[in-house]
């Protein structure tokens, strides 16, 4: 399979991107400024992320769609208002996560944003579970741009007036160059921000105008350090087919009203809600400057293996190494002393609260 390019490929090259292959796409890992400067610019001003490799799945059909989607996803979709978004999961029968995603109710159905590496599989799974009764469109005619940071609202408002009135986890239709764009207030950095779904033919001009208004392109490298500081999961690292949302400490994303109802994986989840889980995702802060990356083994003070790091890096804003991983539930309490095996040495660390960096979202509803 040949490597795909997003509509911003030329722009990435123009702004000095180092390109890497990610989920079958040629994507910018960083630009000229480098990961730390890009990370800090997003936290202090605003950053533009090309996330066009992600899947934009539109589902439409009869009024029963919400009922049928609730048989798949553990979200309150029947109660969702038009333009409202929820974070949810596509699970397997064992309660393992096949993908984590954002579902938004649109005027004629639902829009689901899928991870790039999972999108084709998700499409097939969802299609077969819906028994081909609905129209599914994994739309490849649209780019997806995230604009994140404290200045995001001011920058975007200059290019598309009115979007600053959006509430967090809500979306709406806007017009850019006489074409419809769909904007949601959401993101993956721990900052206020937006995701803009826009036609390929308009995306380059759109991004250039964001840059003219003071924003900068940010690569996948800083996207990863930003989301780790915000305590957010990366599918494939922190979430996988063998891990449930309860184990991933994402219980908050499953509304109480859905626990007793049926959806894919509901039996396992119901059981875990009642009896608890063996492993739990936690935040980890090493005592020293040593960085523990994914797959680092975690030990207790008796030298017994109790878990594994799933993501770890140096946090440019917290100015310290940070990590997250899974430990035996009895070691998941904050301030528990653990040891990380890095290059043969046992490095002391503590279980800590997530996020590492305090969130700065514009709240429209309180459910987190």
């Amino acid at each position: 399979m040949s490597i795909k390019k997003t509509s911003l490929n030329n722009l990435h090259i123009k702004y000095g991107a180092k390109l890497v292959e990610f989920a079958g796409y040629q994507m910018p890992i960083q630009y000229k400024d480098g990961i730390i400067q890009e990370h800090k610019y997003t936290r202090s001003h605003s950053g533009i992320f090309d996330v066009s490799h992600m899947g934009q799945l539109f589902i439409s059909g009869s009024d029963d769609l919400a009922i049928d989607l609730e048989k798949i996803f553990p979200a309150d979709l029947k109660k969702l208002k038009i333009n409202q978004s929820k974070y949810s999961f596509l699970m397997n029968n064992k309660g393992g996560i096949q993908d984590d995603l954002i579902i938004t109710k649109t005027s004629d159905g639902f829009l689901i944003i899928l991870n790039a590496a999972c999108k084709y599989n998700d499409y097939e799974v969802i299609k077969s579970k819906l028994d081909n009764q609905y129209k599914l469109n994994l739309d490849d005619s649209l780019s997806l741009i995230a604009l994140q940071g404290p200045e995001a609202k001011n920058v975007l408002n200059k290019v598309i007036p009115g979007c600053d009135s959006l509430k967090f986890m809500n979306g709406n239709n806007y017009v850019y160059k006489n074409e419809k764009v769909y904007i949601t207030r959401s993101g993956y950095t721990g900052e206020d921000g937006f995701e803009i779904s826009i036609k390929h033919s308009d995306v380059e001009t759109f991004v250039e105008s964001l840059i003219e208004n003071g924003s900068k392109l940010i690569g996948l490298g800083a996207r990863d350090t930003l989301r780790m500081e915000a305590g957010l999961c990366l599918y494939g690292n922190d979430l996988d087919n063998d891990t449930s949302p309860i184990e991933a400490n994402l219980k908050w994303a499953i509304p109480k009203s859905r626990i007793e109802t049926e959806f894919v994986g509901s039996e396992v989840l119901k059981n875990q809600f009642q009896s608890g889980v063996k492993k739990l995702r936690v935040g980890i802060k090493p005592d020293s400057k040593v960085i523990a990356r994914g797959n680092t083994k975690i030990y207790n003070d008796k030298n017994q293996e109790i878990g594994k790091v799933t993501s770890g890096t140096f946090g440019p804003s917290v100015e310290h190494p940070i990590a997250m991983g899974y430990v035996d539930n009895s070691y998941s309490t904050v301030n528990t002393k653990i040891f990380l095996e890095v290059r043969g040495k046992k490095i002391p660390a503590n279980i800590c609260n997530l996020p590492f960096y305090k969130k700065n979202y514009v709240k429209g509803e309180i459910n987190v």
Binding site: I29, Q30, G34, I35, I36, Q37, H39, G221, T225, K289, V290, I291, R293, T313, F314, P316, P321, R343
Partner: protein
């Protein structure tokens, strides 16, 4: 005049009598990106040619630092441990890694000159 040579693992080595100063090249720092962690060998320890003698980590990944020659570690640069970003700023001067009392000067013979290294770096990064 002191002699500077380069290894295929992107270290530079400057020889002054039997004392060698070792660091990583500017090209290496450009490939690594922002360096956020450095670990150095212990003073007084002995390191063997092409063996591991430290670690650097960028925001992206960890990389071993190798020693291009054998010898006893007589000094290490605490400045780069305290502030690893200095390695990006001045890799071939103030941000050296460690100094060795070298055992066998002939180990320098297999290393590259500046011109050879620049050609090597260009070819391998293309």
């Amino acid at each position: 005049m002191s002699e500077v040579k380069y290894s295929k693992e992107h270290e530079w080595i400057k020889l002054d009598g039997d004392e060698a100063t070792i660091g990583i090249t500017k090209h290496a720092t450009e490939m690594l990106g922002d360096i956020v962690f450095a670990e150095l060998p212990e003073k007084g320890s002995n390191v063997d040619k092409d063996g591991t003698a430290g670690v650097v980590e960028s925001t992206k990944a960890a990389s071993d630092v190798y020693t291009p020659v054998s010898g006893e570690v007589i000094d290490t640069n605490q400045m780069i441990v305290d502030d690893p970003s200095k390695i990006n700023e001045d890799p071939e001067e103030s941000a050296w890694f460690f100094k060795l009392k070298i055992k066998d000067k002939s180990e320098m013979d297999s290393l590259m000159s500046k011109e050879e290294y620049e050609k090597f770096a260009k070819e391998t990064s293309a």
